[in-house]
Symmetry: D2
Subunit: 284 residues, 4 copies
């Protein structure tokens, strides 16, 4: 696989943006592999993802920021650079349902996820055996109403000591405190087992069953201060019928949750997600 | 096509039900073509659809009720019989958006819908040309806040004079009064342009666009007194991305609405929908 | 979960079939939970699946055959009975790609598959660690052109000693001999990584990529003497685009293969598959 | 809607391509609305679509070729420019099945298709009424084995006199001669009622039914000299079951064919399709 760099850009739309960026890259001998650019007319925003081959690239990546600064300033860009060399470090939070955890670990092992997974945190010991199988440190942090602040402090300390870039809530059944969420802006991905905004909150499959919907869904999203209201990354659905009892919904839903969460994680680690206006652009 | 009869049954579950029904049909020389039976364990309900060939059937259909009464009573059945001979008579209500109307009329002409469509009612004259093309009487009933009761009275009179069995709201942009709904229980089908229960109410595509969902949906349902809360008949979705502006959602949605509404109408006229507990069983 | 019995029936269509079966079950106090019956008009076949609660059933299951024989004979039925008590015993064959194996074992552990998996056979040692994790005996049977007959003899002996009912080829990259296939009629399920009948044979993803298809598929089917021509059990597809290179097709395909194979296995062990005319009826 | 220009480019991959194109556009005051660029590593090809706002664009479009020539030459580009002002002119060919024709005409009227449809050619008079409803000239050209060359000559003359840019075969049941195909390279779009390459040739639904597939498909493609082997533009599928008889496949297939053909036509007229190596890139 080629070593590449990826640049995500979000700024007010102006003439000459593509030219300025392409020219900058060309002057440093970049060979552009993929470029995708989009304009949000309503918000007057320019949104771009560009990926280039690092072999032959004449600019030392550590110098990138300094060199790119004048362009970035001129166009008031918010930008992010991701270098092939740096793999984001992910912590997975899990409770008792282990299907998303098992799925993510298997995909990681298969090379589908370009990240490191150095830490699993759970409020239950049940999934330790899986963590052991994949050789990943597993920490139990019990949590309840009384000890929540304390438990989160313990989690922060673990996240810090493992240098974690992204937290993935893989059916973690605890609501994070506002402090927790504020500490990791756009760096917590959750899987909700409904087609949001339908069935916000608890027990979505039960409510879907009662409502008699003909499709059930799953939604992966970034976590923000308002529960289940963060920017949606991916959604998918599966058909159900009267032949499906509640347990069948739950079983079918598991397959959805796995796929929908793993896509979100993959796109995040490949720097394919651009956030704006509580929405995501997925440069796939 | 074979001439068939269809029986829909809904009753408390008890041993011997299938045997009693099958035996009754066999004694009258019915050749069963399809039988589908389902038990809702939670509600302890027995739900069945059975369709048989009328050629060779020894019971005069007009005598069916009298003969079947003792079984029906014994098992406390709610049942419906549909004979091949009787085509339900449908009135389509439409406003300005004509895609569902055009789709239903074309399908009807193609033989996909086993019904008659003797009446189209609109609050605007715009779709008259389409009605004329298909040779269907078209009545404009203008409606506004002031004249609503009066306008609905005019609609009732039209529905009566055309002997209408089922009303299809094909993007009809008026809310029916409780009196209207009560007059046609389980006989009004609506298409809502969202994946219910997400985006109940007005302007669902606008809200879907703002929320940044990755899939948009459409839902056909029976109309009950509470807006968009009636039993769901069918739903489907289509994928959208950041490349889709609001107008693209509306355009993609049209294809969904057509398909989802036409399936509901087809299943209704083929007696495939059994209603219970604000849900539907679709015997497809 | 209720203990149930399931009967699959395939016979020439005749009046009175449903009545005869329902009456037989009723006389022995069966409470029918699900019944689904279908007529293939072209082949004049009657196809039925009926499932009933064993609690309260007055007939000793071991006596079923003797009691049912007169009905079965009268209507020339081919039939199969499956009792809740008996879990089918499955052997999984695998080569190096382990995604289907891992998926099946996880689903089995989660209770999704009502079977036992007492044996894994592979022509490579690579997946032993997975087998060990789930505590399932793992046997390496190396196979090549020279030793094929011998290797298959070793496989037969293993299958016999473990009392295997069903063989699942979970991306097993060897073609079975006609003798092997003949030994397990309708008892070998394979996953083919294309939307059959497109791309029969080797390297379907490569050929799909070259042809420029917009969807890739996977197909689970019973193995018969003609390669990839057996009765199809399940198929599914996923969308691809020019952004997907060959490796992306392979990666996306893995998710398809897992789901499509596991559905086939589940339906088989739940006695939901009726075979006729090189086709399957899935009573879902 | 904005007036835009669209440029499609296909050339050997080289550094500086994006910069050269973006710089050219910037120098002429283009405001780029969308740009999508893709590299086919295996073929070492650079593929790009760029769309810009014509308001404020300083270059007279008629001068574009002359000005762009030096860049195009330098990079050995094959390129196509589409200006908002020019609507492609489409002729629809149809036989007796009219669902695709009706669908295309309705979409055109609704503003979904940015083209003109000045001509419908059929080998049967059946669809004249539809053509009349939409006010489109309708020409019957009867065709059979004996008069094929003559009939095609008559078609050529019609196509010439109506200045046709693109031919859409909307379930036209005649095979075009090699001369016909050669006359309109990459300018004939066909709808095939199967998931190609499965069921190439005649009666695909019949063969799908016999094979017992669980999904049926439709494929739109450019017509080349080899039947059903041209570059695939779009495909989609729908699920079928044992409950679907052959007629149900045909009915379900109609919905697929309409959608799959209309997408192909829309993408073509919006200059979103880039052809290479018997494949298409769809810049959606």
């Amino acid at each position: 696989m080629k070593k590449t760099a990826t640049l995500l850009i979000n700024c007010p739309d102006r003439k000459g943006l593509v030219a300025a960026i392409a020219d900058f890259l060309f002057r440093h001998d970049a060979n552009i592999l993929h470029a995708d650019q989009h304009q949000d007319a309503e918000e007057n925003l320019f949104l771009m993802r560009v990926e280039w081959d690092l072999s032959g690239f004449a600019l030392d990546p550590t110098q990138f920021e300094r060199q790119f600064a004048s362009i970035a300033e001129k166009f008031q860009m918010r930008w992010q650079l991701k270098l092939a060399g740096h793999k984001p470090r992910i912590a997975i939070f899990v409770s008792r349902y282990d299907h998303c955890l098992v799925d993510l670990l298997y995909r990681h092992q298969s090379g589908e996820l370009a990240c490191d997974i150095p830490l699993i945190i759970s409020n239950h010991p049940d999934t330790r055996r899986v963590a052991d199988f994949y050789g990943i440190p597993f920490q139990v942090v019990a949590i309840n109403k009384e000890n929540k602040a304390e438990a989160e402090a313990r989690q922060f300390s673990l996240l810090d000591s493992y240098n974690i870039d992204l937290i993935v809530l893989a059916r973690y059944m605890q609501v994070l405190s506002p402090e927790f969420v504020a500490r990791y802006p756009q760096r917590i991905i959750n899987i909700h087992h409904s087609f949001l905004p339908a069935f916000v909150g608890a027990r979505p499959y039960h409510r879907a069953f009662e409502r008699g919907v003909k499709l059930i869904g799953a939604t992966s999203h970034y976590v923000t201060e308002v529960l289940d209201e963060g920017p949606i990354i991916e959604q998918d659905i599966v058909r159900v019928s009267h032949r499906d009892q509640l347990e069948d919904l739950i079983q079918k839903g598991r397959d959805l949750e796995k796929v929908v969460l793993s896509r979100a994680v993959r796109w995040h680690v490949e720097n394919r997600i651009l956030l704006y206006a509580n929405k995501t652009v997925i440069f796939d």
